[in-house]
Structures are given as C-alpha cells and as structure tokens.
Subunit: 478 residues, 2 copies
C-alpha cells in the first residue's frame, strides 16, 4: 500500500504538496522553479481553456500569438510597469552563438509588445474595440516556488483590449471578470468568489484599477483567482496609441488586460478535497467517471470487461476511464481514484450484469447505490450535477464560516497570529498605503480587495483610527 | 483602392510575402526573426489544432506540458542531437538579476528534457506505451526568416512516445504520419502529400528513421509538411530508460517523436490561391462564409442587415462573418474577401429578400448562382464540399504535372537551373552521402524523401552511375 497521505485538516500544506505529485498532476522541471504538467493536470487545464475560450469569444475576443521574447526597451517604456516587473525578468543574452546587442526579456506579460504593435493597427474609431486574447507561457523568476501556485514559468491567457474610452475599457474589464471568470469559477469549478477591486498598493503596475476575484482555500488563506485591469490611458500614452474619432479628432485609446493562469488549478485543488485526496469539480474533471470492473476470484473476467466497455460506450458524452489493471485489487483501485478526485465511480461485477444494474459511488459523500441500466444515463447526469452543487455549497459555507467582521486591531492580530490562514477579515481601513504596509508587516495580512458588494458603513481604520467609508477584505494569502 | 497584389504566377515569392501581411495573417515581431500571428492566421492554426488533436487522442496520445527552459547539459547528452541543434540555440543567461551557473537553452525541441523526466515514470511493461504530446512554442535562432516558413520562434506540436520495442515505435510513428498528418492534409487542408523516409543526411539528429510528408508548393518547390521519427533505442540509451518486461528482464525502451508546426500554414497558403489572393480550404478556413449585404443606393439598409443576420443564424454551424462596413462598396468587399481566401460568399439585397433567395459565389471557380432560402443549407454544405474537392484535385494535378522522372544529370541540371522551383525529380541515387552533398552543391536540390509507393526498378545513380534499387525524390525546397 502507498504511504499514508498527510491529513488535509491537520497539515494542509503537506497534503497539497504531496497530493499534487501523487495524483500525477505535476512535478518540478529541471530549470529553476519550473513545472512539468502531467497529462492528468494538463487535461484539467484543457477543460478550463475550453470553458473560458468560449466565454471570451462570446465577448468578441479573438485569439492571437505574440512572440515570447520582448526587447528590454519595450518593458522600460511604461514607468510603473518596469518597476513592477524588472526584479522577476528572465533574460536571453545570445542566439546562435552571437551575443545580442540588446537582451530580450522572456515574456513576463505582453502589454508592452502588444501595445508597440497594435499602435500600427489602430487608425480610426472603426478599428475599435480591438479585442485580443493570447494563450501562452508566462515567465517570472521566482525563488520560492510551489506547483501551480508560484512557478518560474506558468501557462495562462492574457487578454489585451483596446477601446475608444476609459469607460468602455472599464466596462469590458468588468464584463470579463464577472461574465467569464466569475461564471467559470461558479459554474465550472464549483467555487464561490469574492469580487472587488485592488488597493493602489496591490494593483497591477500600470493599471488605473485592478479588479480581482479572491477565493478562500481550505486552510483559510486567500488566493487571487484572476485579475482584470482597466489600464486607462496609461499604456496608450506611453505607446502613443491614438485614433480619429467620429468628429475626426485624434484621441488616445483606452486599454484593458485580463488574465487567468494555471494557478486556477491550485485554487481548485485547495478548495475541494478531504483526507482521502482530491475532489475534482465534475464539469471540468479530467476524468468524470471511472468504471471499475469487479472480476471476482474464480469467474471469467472477459464478460465483465466487455460489460465495462459497453458501459463506457453508453457514457461516451462523459470523460470516462476503465480501470482494467489486472495486478490491483478493487479496494486499491477505489482508494486510488478517490485520491485522484474522480467525482463518480461505477462498479460492475458478474452479479450486477445478471441483474442489469451497476453500483454508483459518489466521491463527495461516499454514498453508494444500485442503479438499473435503464436509469443509468439519467442518474449519472443528475448525480454529477448534484456533486457540483454539493461542492459549491460546501465551499460557500466554508467561506462564510471563515469570514469575520473585525473591529479592533487586537482581534485582527489575534486572528492573524500563527502560521495558518486567517479567513477573510472584513475591516475598516483609512485608505493610506502606510497603514496598509504596516498591517502587512505586523500581521502578514494584505488587502485582498475592496469588495463590490457590501453594506456601506462609516467606521475607523483598524490600525490608525482614521476615517473609513467601507470595509476592505484582509487575508493571509498565497 | 489598395495596391495591386503581385502576380502569383509571375512572382510567387513576392505574392506570398505580400499576401501574408495584407490578409492580416501575420507580421514580424520585434525580437530577431520572430512572428506575430494575427487573429485571422491564428484562427487557422486553432482549426488545425482542433483537427489534429482529435486524431492524436484517437491514437491514445495525451497532452502535457514541459518547461521552455532546458539545461544545456541535457541537450549535450545525445551526440547527434547536440550537433544538430547547437548552432540554432537561444540561451537564457540570467534570471531575477542573477547570472545562472549553467545557461538554459530555450526549447529547440523537447526530446532531452522529456527523456530525462520520463525515465522516472517508466518501470515495467505495464507503463508502456507512454504517449505524450505537447502544444507549445519552439525556438531556433534563424538569420534568414520568412513568415510561417522559417522564424526564430514558431508554434507546433511535438509528440513523444515510449514503446516496448523498436517495431512498436516504428509502427506508431508511421500511424501518426498516415492516420493523423496525411489525413489532415488530405481531408482538412485539401493537399496531396508524398510520403516517404528521409535519407541519412536529411534525417532528424538522433533518429534511426525519419518519416516525412513532402508537398509541392505553387512555384514547384517542395515543403516538408511534418515529420515522424523512429528514434529507436538512441535516446533510451543516452538517458537510460529501461523497463522490466513480462519475463522480469530489464530492456531498453524505444522512442518516437513527431511534429507539425505553423509551417503548415505556409504550406496551405502556398498550395492554394491565385492572382486574386488566398484560397482557404473550406474545412479549416477561419471564415468559411462571408455574407455581404447589398444595401442599394436609396433603400433602407435596416431590413437587408436584418436579413443578413438571420442568414448568419441559420448558418450557425459554420464560421460566418457579416461584412456590414458602411464605408466600403460591395465591389471593394468582394475583392477584399477574395484576397483573404474566404471560400464562399453570400450576397443578399432588397430584391433577393423579396424573392426569398440569395446569391452564392464560389471563390475557387468564381461561379455565382441564385439559391432559394429553402435550399440554402443543403447548397452551402454541398458547395463547401465541392470547393474542397476542387482544391484537392487542382493541387494533385499540379503535383502530377510537376513530377518528372529524370534519367540524366544533364536533364537534372537543366531542370534545377535558375531561381524557380524544379518540381519533384524522381531519380536514381547510389545511396552515398557524398553524391547527395555534391548534387545539392551543384543544383540546390536535396533529397526530399525515399517514397513509400513507387515501382521498384534498378538503375544507376544520376550523378555517379553507382547502382540504385529505387528512385528517390529530389527537389528544391523551402
């Protein structure tokens, strides 16, 4: 038998590190801080891509490709941007044995190279909006890495859109946040999100406003699930992107950018699961159903395997695996697939074949029941939906149970003490960066977002007693 | 009116360079030799990906991700491999301001890094075959570049598979060549291929055998459309990949790799087309149908636009664009979409609405006909299929017309003289690399492949009169 899995409830961090590798999702690459995504992990990413890509296209975005190498001078063109990204750049110094005159940065994000190009594509209001999205690799030098959560190279999509006005850029960023990302997390990943905007300190280097979805992981830490930035006229001015409006006047364009990365996989893994292992949300699970044929000790395995294959054909609309390994017991297989988080298991043995039935076993509740062949398709559809709903409800309850209104710094410090997560701490803040920095230094909690939805309420900053008009959300975060 | 397009028949090279940019397929990036793929070009790539990905999965391959940065020492591990790739490597020298102890190569191909990893995944015969595929960016320093054909970074898929025996690796490489690539080119891209194996000189560095599909471009030059390599035990020995067989004996695995890149886009563009512009094969065309509403000078445009939108809804199974630009004439639009190669155009005006009909115009033949609304769906399906067939037949005829059996070196030299393409030259060759190199130096023609299908026939080497058992295919190639 395999080594015992660390307990999720007692040692969340160990549980995560162990299960990502044991479930064959990912492993470390040879180059510093890089990640290999194995087929089981990559299939999850493909399902995320498929879901999101449709949503982006519904919003008019078109996919394109921009080179991985970006002249360093491009990145240096937007002041805040260069300060934000320089410490994490990977640099290419030579090609074909020749030293480059100017080193290339390996894509930390594509705002600069896209803006430098697109300025030549935009002439009049007829060329706007221009809505681009890229699926690619992103490179940021990291010293402390963790699979899916922080690696020196990760996969993501980066949307870059060009609009006639600041308001339109803002509206588009918000539409992607809610109608693509929030929808994806809720309806595909079975995860609730807290939507809001970032503080000035936490926003994207070069943005006017950064919008974010924050999620709560199983240890009470926050994770930023994605961001959408209204870049206002900042990049358009740095890169001189202007267009002739309907009145034939030259105007600066406004731009937005928005991204979601393989970090979302980490978020999904850390939201769902238990001491037995992972729990994949059914709609994007790499394997939705595993069929385990129960051969019986003395019976002929052939008819059972044939019945399993017939079942798989009937379930062709789902992502199905048959576990026909001949050197593993059913009990081993059950544990193995539970560890990998496959939401639904179907068991079929000689007696079930006789009775025209199978056993359906849910990963979320452990419930097992007999289902007749006639009812199979309806029951499978209904059970997968029910698992989705259960996962969402559990995650929502966990988030609610770990969201606290905090009104004194003493309580704030008590809640953030120790190594674990602190939940979402709803507290008043004066709006000053100094206070925000001090709170972070003293408690390791950062402002995750200023939420869109809350009861507006005047109060006093948790740390300095300065005036505040609304609560912000603090948390210890990944 | 836009500048005249260079004539495809008179100046093929100019035609290609101009149309790739004018049709908004791609442009050069800022970093040396890199390429920006614009939405129209990228959509073609997405359609190629979708088609191939299904075929690969049907053959059991699973997608995964391996890091872009590869320690240089990995690449140096396979002798032929390092010789083949070193001249074209891009090197990363620093990250986060720190100089790396060992530079990283930016992925020129992933054999080495995959083998170094997968050796730990393979223990027994139960772990084989292991069938991986990667969709990623590939980096090779190039001095002379051309959009889609040769760039310092391109997109591709690279399959890497691990097998129990040399024969099985060989069989898999051949299955991908014929059942994925050949099928794709014939049934999606409307292109005939010449299938065969490479000479020792032309094979992949580290392969036992390289299989290839060679296609003939519109100027009589050859293009290598993809390759599949039987790597035999070469990489398994260099990277010590062994498994316990059924008899509990340690055996070296055998490996294969296979790839198709964005070069395929170049091949498609250079196979189909005419002096008016591109001609996209209907099954993977980014836009299959363009609807041009004909507003008429004094009529109300609203009902025509509404009818065009209704048409688009009825054709929702296709990739459809409506060209509703209000500052362009129908004639301009017709030329524009013909230049971009959209296979089918539908025109609809006030009179057509009255008569419950539309005009269908084929890009390949120029034929226009009225079609009643009732017959529209059937006619569209049939016409797109017919365009596919026409394109394939034209390309096949062109290939046949430009394939020559050549029996004297004088004729060989005459056919390869000058700047243009020479077609496929079927000639006898002694099998010696010296002769092959001399022929290349003297005529610029290389051996494209030793074709699978041909009449076996003894003869004498075209250059040295040495004995030969079969003809090989020479061509001037991209």
């Amino acid at each position: 038998m395999a080594d015992q899995l660390p307990s999720r409830s007692e040692n969340f961090s160990e549980w995560y590190n162990t299960i990502v590798q044991r479930a064959d999702l990912a492993d470390y690459g040879a180059a510093k801080g890089t990640m290999i995504i194995k087929p089981y992990g990559y299939a999850l990413w493909e399902n995320i891509q498929t879901y999101l890509d449709k949503r982006f296209k519904k919003h008019g975005a078109k996919n394109a490709f921009f080179p991985t190498f970006i002249p360093l001078s491009y990145i240096q063109r937007e002041k805040e941007h260069v300060e934000g990204f320089t410490p994490n750049l990977w640099l290419v110094a030579s090609g074909g044995g020749e030293t480059l005159e100017e080193p290339y940065a390996v894509r930390p994000t594509s705002e600069t190279t896209i803006n430098m190009t697109v300025r030549n594509w935009i002439h009049s209001y007829r060329d706007l909006p221009l809505l681009l999205n890229l699926w690619n690799s992103c490179f940021r030098y990291e010293l402390r890495t963790r699979l899916f959560l922080r690696t020196s190279e990760f996969l993501w999509q980066e949307g870059h859109t060009f609009h006639a006005s600041w308001d339109e850029a803002n509206e588009y960023a918000l539409a992607i946040l809610t109608d693509a990302y929030l929808d994806f997390y809720a309806n595909a990943a079975a995860m609730p999100s807290l939507a809001g905007r970032k503080s000035e300190k936490e926003k994207f280097p070069g943005a006017d406003i950064t919008y974010t979805l924050e999620q709560m992981m199983g240890d009470g830490r926050a994770l930023q699930g994605c961001t959408a930035h209204n870049l206002g006229h900042n990049f358009a001015k740095s890169f001189d992107i202007r267009y002739l409006d309907r009145g034939n006047e030259l105007q600066y364009a406004a731009t937005a950018s928005w991204g979601l990365s393989t970090r979302a996989i980490g978020a999904i893994l850390m939201t769902h699961g238990d001491d037995k292992g992972l729990l994949m949300p059914p709609r994007i699970a790499p394997t939705q159903i595993v069929i385990v044929p129960i051969f019986g000790k003395h019976a002929d395995p052939a008819p059972v395997l044939a019945a399993a294959k017939q079942l798989a054909r009937e379930l062709a609309d789902y992502r199905v695996e048959i576990d026909a390994r001949d050197d593993k017991s059913p009990g081993f297989k059950f544990n193995d697939w539970e560890m990998r988080g496959v939401p639904l298991r179907i068991e079929i043995g000689p007696k079930d074949i006789e009775k025209n039935q199978v056993v359906l076993a849910r990963r979320d509740t452990g419930e097992k029941k007999f289902v007749s062949n006639a009812e199979l398709l309806a029951q499978v559809a209904q059970t997968l939906d029910s698992i989705h709903d259960t996962l969402y409800a559990r995650a929502k309850k966990f988030q609610d149970d770990h969201t606290f209104s905090v009104d004194t710094y003493a309580e704030f410090q008590a809640r953030t003490a120790g190594e674990g997560g602190a939940g979402f701490l709803m507290a008043h803040w004066c709006g000053n960066r100094e206070c925000e920095t001090a709170i972070q230094q003293e408690t390791k909690a950062t402002i995750r977002c200023i939420p869109f939805v809350q009861t507006k309420e005047a109060g006093k900053c948790i740390r300095c007693d300065g005036a505040s008009q609304e609560r912000v959300v603090f948390a210890k975060a990944y």
